[in-house]
């Protein structure tokens, strides 16, 4: 086996040094009844690289790669162009094959990029501090709710109807254990009156902007209403590219920002791994989950970085930790930070503008198709349209024509009748004029 350096002779010599008769002697503590022969596993034997490549390529070929056709799927995952340098750099051995930076003297590379990442995330979100990432946007949102419950010592969390349903379900799964989650009504293309639902037992309100239908929300009045009752505002962002063009949640008085960072530096990857961004106010850091890199000096006075405030974490605090999380999204957050370093202020702003312009022109183009009306009037790079036929069947019909038209709202809201005819459409810099034209043309054929 190409990955195993020990030879049969090595193994014999090692057993001799150990003083064991054979390898079985080393498994002495395993109950005999629990040891099974290889034949107990109905699985194939070793394969060469070429053979594995052939097998897996065949599976991959059964999928329609988003980049091979005009594709307009968003709803929490977005297809953007990732510069070649990003993927090259994250595959540097020293990044790819290192562990959590527990030995700071020989992990400054990781610790410094985490520190830079934390700064970038805080700047984008308009917040004071950010952590070194969580698993993804949905779990970051759930962690934010738990953190708000700890901070306010209250149990109720109110979720906006515009929060991505997968996020809402993820929050419910953990926040219902010790608290109570209430969902506001779903109002595609409009803002529900969430402020009215906030009472003195409310720990937090969770509002996504742009919301799952693409609508940009005004967070400031919600923050004011929450703060008036002693509750916190958690702002959720699923399209990190929007930070380049929209007023950041911090400037709208959000207390915690939970976001999905996939759009910057990371591919679609069929849903994961992604990178959860998490930012908050400095005064809340001791209740923040996840790893943190902090600046300090070494014994010679040189600047360096270490994992810090670890007493919040499971390896020290055990059952009193702020979260059970152990890993972060290491490589994905590295990809994020490299892509953002390449973009810089100028590149990100331009790219965000390009995304908005692309979506705006597509919205205008699609709205001209008979049987289509625009549901979302203010948006970043994603909007919702109402169709004269059920969206799912339209999407299936367009898929047969080689167009991935977007996400039917009914896939996310299967029990909501109003969702049946709604289609959520995203457009990014990767969509060309030809793509948009093909989409409009296909749509008009399918709807006629």
């Amino acid at each position: 086996m190409r990955y195993h350096p020990l030879t049969t002779e090595d193994r014999a010599q090692m057993l001799a040094r150990i003083g064991a008769k054979d390898i079985d002697a080393l498994f002495r503590d395993v109950p005999k009844s629990a040891v099974v022969p290889l034949s107990a596993f109905d699985l194939p034997d070793t394969k060469g690289e070429l053979e594995v490549e052939r097998l897996m390529s065949r599976m991959a070929a059964r999928n329609l790669a988003a980049g091979s056709v005009p594709s307009f799927c968003g709803a929490g995952a977005y297809r953007h162009h990732v510069p070649a340098a990003v993927d090259h750099l994250i595959q540097r051995s020293e990044f790819l094959t290192s562990y959590t930076p527990y030995q700071p003297e020989i992990a400054q590379g990781t610790l410094q990029y985490l520190f830079e990442f934390q700064t970038q995330v805080a700047l984008l979100a308009g917040m004071e501090v950010a952590n070194a990432s969580l698993y993804d946007g949905s779990t970051a949102t759930a962690e934010a709710v738990l953190m708000a419950q700890r901070l306010t010592r209250r149990s109720k969390a109110i979720l906006s109807g515009g929060l991505h349903p997968h996020y809402a379900e993820t929050v419910e799964t953990v926040a219902n254990l010790s608290g109570k989650v209430v969902r506001a009504p779903v109002t595609p293309g409009a803002a529900e009156d969430i402020a009215e639902m906030i009472d003195n037992e409310t720990a937090c309100v969770v509002v996504q902007s742009p919301d799952v239908f693409g609508l940009i929300r005004d967070l400031k009045p919600i923050a004011a209403a929450a703060h008036a009752k002693g509750a916190l505002l958690i702002a959720v962002v699923t399209e990190a590219m929007s930070f380049g063009l929209l007023e950041p949640p911090g400037a709208q008085d959000a207390d915690i920002v939970a976001a999905e960072g996939q759009s910057i530096g990371n591919g679609l990857n069929f849903g994961g791994p992604y990178v959860g961004l998490f930012a908050t106010r400095e005064k809340f850091i001791r209740q923040m989950p996840g790893r943190l890199s902090g600046e300090t000096v070494d014994a010679e006075g040189r600047r360096g970085f270490v994992l810090t405030l670890s007493t919040r974490e499971q390896h020290i605090r055990r059952d009193k930790a702020t979260s059970n999380i152990c890993t972060n999204s290491g490589l994905c957050c590295l990809a994020f930070t490299i892509h953002l370093s390449l973009l810089g202020e100028e590149g990100l702003t331009r790219l965000a503008r390009q995304n908005h312009a692309r979506a705006a022109s597509l919205a205008v183009r699609l709205a001209k198709v008979r049987g289509v009306s625009l549901v979302t009037d203010s948006f970043f790079n994603e909007f919702t349209i109402r169709l004269s036929k059920p969206a799912r069947s339209v999407v299936d019909a367009l898929a047969e024509r080689g167009i991935i038209a977007g996400v039917p709202a009914s896939r996310l809201f299967p029990h909501d009748k109003q969702a049946r005819d709604l289609l959520i459409v995203a457009a990014t810099e990767t969509n060309t004029d030809e793509d948009c034209e093909a989409f409009a043309k296909g749509l008009s054929e399918v709807l006629s």
Binding site: R286, S310, T311, I316, R317, K320
Partner: protein, 124 residues
């Protein structure tokens, strides 16, 4: 100066006119290493003898500090928030944690004297 009493959890308590000042012992401070953070109870909070009242953290450890006596917290040592190193420098003086207005003065007598505590530590 009034007598200081000690707990098995390494807190000390000094009572003066119905008010108890609480901190952690020299031994505890040495075991913890460099203290980096102290979380203190707010004034007005009711604490019960043996109940969690504060948290003290070093880089690699976090420990609960228990109230040796029952009562209402009247003050906490704000200076520790800015300079937690005071806990290491002077644990049984300037590094005090909080003050409690006693609800049951009888509880104090049940705690260890200095000699008893020293003996207790020797056995650890």
């Amino acid at each position: 100066m009034s007598e200081v009493r000690y707990t098995k959890e390494h807190e000390w308590v000094r009572v003066e006119s119905g008010e108890a000042t609480v901190g952690i012992t020299q031994y505890a401070a040495e075991q913890l290493g460099d203290v980096v953070f102290v979380e203190l109870p707010e004034a007005g909070r009711k604490v019960g003898a043996g109940g969690e009242a504060a948290v003290v953290e070093s880089v690699k450890a976090a420990s609960e500090v228990y109230a040796p006596v029952s009562g209402e917290v009247t003050a906490s040592n704000a200076a520790l928030s800015d300079d937690p190193a005071k806990v290491n420098a002077d644990p049984e003086g300037a590094g005090w944690f909080f003050k409690v207005k006693l609800s049951d003065a009888g509880e104090v007598a049940k705690l260890m004297t200095r000699a008893q505590y020293d003996e207790f530590v020797k056995g650890l």
